[in-house]
Structure formats: structure tokens, C-alpha cells
Symmetry: C2
Subunit: 239 residues, 2 copies
Amino acid sequence: MAHSHPHDETHLSSSAVLQDIVIGLADGLTVPFALAAGLSGAVASSGLIITAGLAEIVAGSIAMGLGGYLAGRTEVEHYDAELKREYEEVANVPDVERAEVDELLAEIGLSASTRALAVRELTADPDQWVRFMMKYELGLEKPDPRQAPKSAFTIAGAYVVGGLIPLSAYFFTATPTAGLVWSALITLVCLLVFGYFRSRLTGQPPLWGALKMAGVGSLAAGAAYLVAKSIAGWDFLGL
Amino acid sequence: MAHSHPHDETHLSSSAVLQDIVIGLADGLTVPFALAAGLSGAVASSGLIITAGLAEIVAGSIAMGLGGYLAGRTEVEHYDAELKREYEEVANVPDVERAEVDELLAEIGLSASTRALAVRELTADPDQWVRFMMKYELGLEKPDPRQAPKSAFTIAGAYVVGGLIPLSAYFFTATPTAGLVWSALITLVCLLVFGYFRSRLTGQPPLWGALKMAGVGSLAAGAAYLVAKSIAGWDFLGL
């Protein structure tokens, strides 16, 4: 059926890119923002906040992007290994596999006589049989091997873009406190807009999505601020 | 069928916890480690590295945990909305839905006459019919509503534990450079062990998994170090 729906496939692959952008932006907008906000309560130099912020953006984007790449590769390897195993089982223990097909068809409510017909037809062609087992027994869809590197770059890029937004405020202000005020304003607006459109994409209530996203960012930043401020009071660290 | 396999369900739920621990640990071990390593090349005080590291752990664990919680809630809401829609469609446009069932059965290779029997049996009970559409048309499994808050705490907790390991080295050493050496040693060992067991859990080659995990951490830390060190040379930041 996939061949007759080229339009659907385009839709799917563009939504995979959008999903990766959403994943990268969601973390990029919150974690570097919260780290910079936290340090604003603890250190006197904007330069330190920018250094820590950029180091975090580099570390986070590599961890997320490379992590996403390796997870994608693992998914492809896992699929291929299961596919090979299903072909072997269909060839070596066809009766066991036929009983599994029968069990799946019983679950969806078919009678014994209809199942007997269906099992015979479905298992007539090994390719079709294995495709059925992969999708309906194991719940696995064939992953696109080109997806993993694409995802890695998209997620990492979105994380960098998301992280530079809150950090930019510290470039153009004189003190960490002024930087924090502008950073919080800019980032909250971005989180609201981002949360709004993300929820529209997935068909969720968009205003609620905007508030949720802003809430996560505020909570992370507020907690980081409190922790960093109280650590700054620990004399033995000599800040 | 689910009722007759209580053991399988236990297995699934314990592996969901393990999966959450793996997600939290993978990021917790790499990002705070890389941030601390990066700052070691740029600042003279271990206190600053500890402050930034703890702020990052707080920010990252809240962003990941709360993000995971909200994603889980969205999944539950999405499932419930689709379930409601399928019940309405089965009641209001049964012929359209019956044609969709027929199409799905044609894809798995059933003949027209077997399909006619199967469609009649399968659509005899609305609950069974909707269950079939949810699983086989939409590929959706019923999510556990209690999973979201559990996941949030597990991921956040694992992130905190993972992040404190590399940071602990800076507590017990006098200079950022000494801290970095110990932090890198401890964290690389942890990444190797973690990568080894993570790959064993998912049935991948464990030694390759160990090297991959250590590679991600090293690359993130090395890049963060280079970036922070070169920023420290920017005179206008006044570090």
C-alpha cells in the first residue's frame, strides 16, 4: 500500500524533521537558559556565564545529536536482527510460527474456521508472512537507515539555536543581573511561542501547551538559580 | 490475552524503569561531565565548576524529568482522543471503517472471500472492532497513566546520580586541572561499564556499546573544553 501513497510518505518524513527540531529546541531553550539563570545568582562576571553557557551548548548538542544517531543505528540493527530471526523461524519452525499467527488472529476476534483459511493464505508467501510477524507480533516498522545521521544533525542544530537565544542576552548587557532579566524575557516569549506551535502540530490545546513549556523553563531556571545562589554562600568554595 | 500473562507484564514494567534509568544516566554522565571539563580549561576556581555543574544538574534533571512527565501525559491524552474518535467513527460511518478493516486484511494477504468472513466476525463487537483499529490501523498501544509521573522521577533521579559522579572529583581536589584528571578517569570507567550493561540489556554487542558510550562522553567533553578554552582567550569578556 505504501507505494500508492507518495504524498503520505513526504508528510511522514517532513514530520520526522519537525519532530527532531522540536526535541532539540525544547531542551536547548530550557537547559542553557536555566544554567545561565542559575549562574547569574552566583557569579559577578557575564563572561563566565557566557563561557559556561557555550560549553553547555556544545556538550549538550553533541550528547543529544550523537546519542540520537547511535540510538537510530541501534534501531536499524535491532530491526535487521529480528527480521533475520523471523525468516529463520518461518523456515525452521513453521508450525510454531503458524500457531502464533493463529493466536494473533484469535485475539482480534476471528472464529476457528476463518482463522484456518486466513492462516493458510497469509503464510503462503514467506515474505508476506515475515512482514506480518514483524509488524503485528513484534510491532516493528522498518526504520530508514538514512534517518539516523539526519536526525543527529537536526537535533544538535536545533539545540544550538535554542541555547543561543537565552545566552544572547548576556552578550548585550553589562551585568549578570541585567543579562538575566533580558534572557528571561526573551526566553519566556520563545517558550510560549514554541509551546503553542508544538501543541498545534500534535493536535493538543495550544494555549495549554504554551503555558506548559514556559512552566518547565521557569521551574528549571528558578531551581538552578536557588541552588547556585545557596552554593555561592558556601565559604569553603571561595567563590 | 494480556490477562493470562501476568509474568510478561511485570517484565515489561520493570524494563520501563530500567529504560528510564538508562535515559537519565546516559545524559547525566555525559553533559555535566563535559560542562565541568570545559570549564576546567577556562576558570581558575573549582568552586565555580561545582556551582555551574550543580546548576546544570538541577536544570537538566528538571527539564528531562518534567519534559518526560508532560510527554507521557500527552501520550495518554492522544490515545484517549483517538479512542473516542474511533468509537464515533465505528458508530457513525461503519461502512468507511469496515472498508478500512478490509484494506488492512488485504495488505496482510487475505483473499476477498476470507476477508468478507473476517470483516463480519471482527466488526460484530464494537469494543473488539475499535481495539483492532487502535492497534492495527493506528499502531497505538494503551499507555499506562501511572507511567508518566513514575518515569519523571526515575529519569530525573538517574540524571542527578549520573551528574554527581563526574562532579564529585572537583570536591576532593585542589585545582580544576586535578579535578579534571580525576573526573575524566572516574567518568570514563562509569561510561564504559554503563555502555557495556546497556548494550547487554538490549541484546547489542556489549564491548562495542561500552566504546560508543565512552566515545560520546569524550567527544562532548573534548569539544566543550576546546570551546571554553578559546572563549577564555577573548579579552573583552574579562575572565
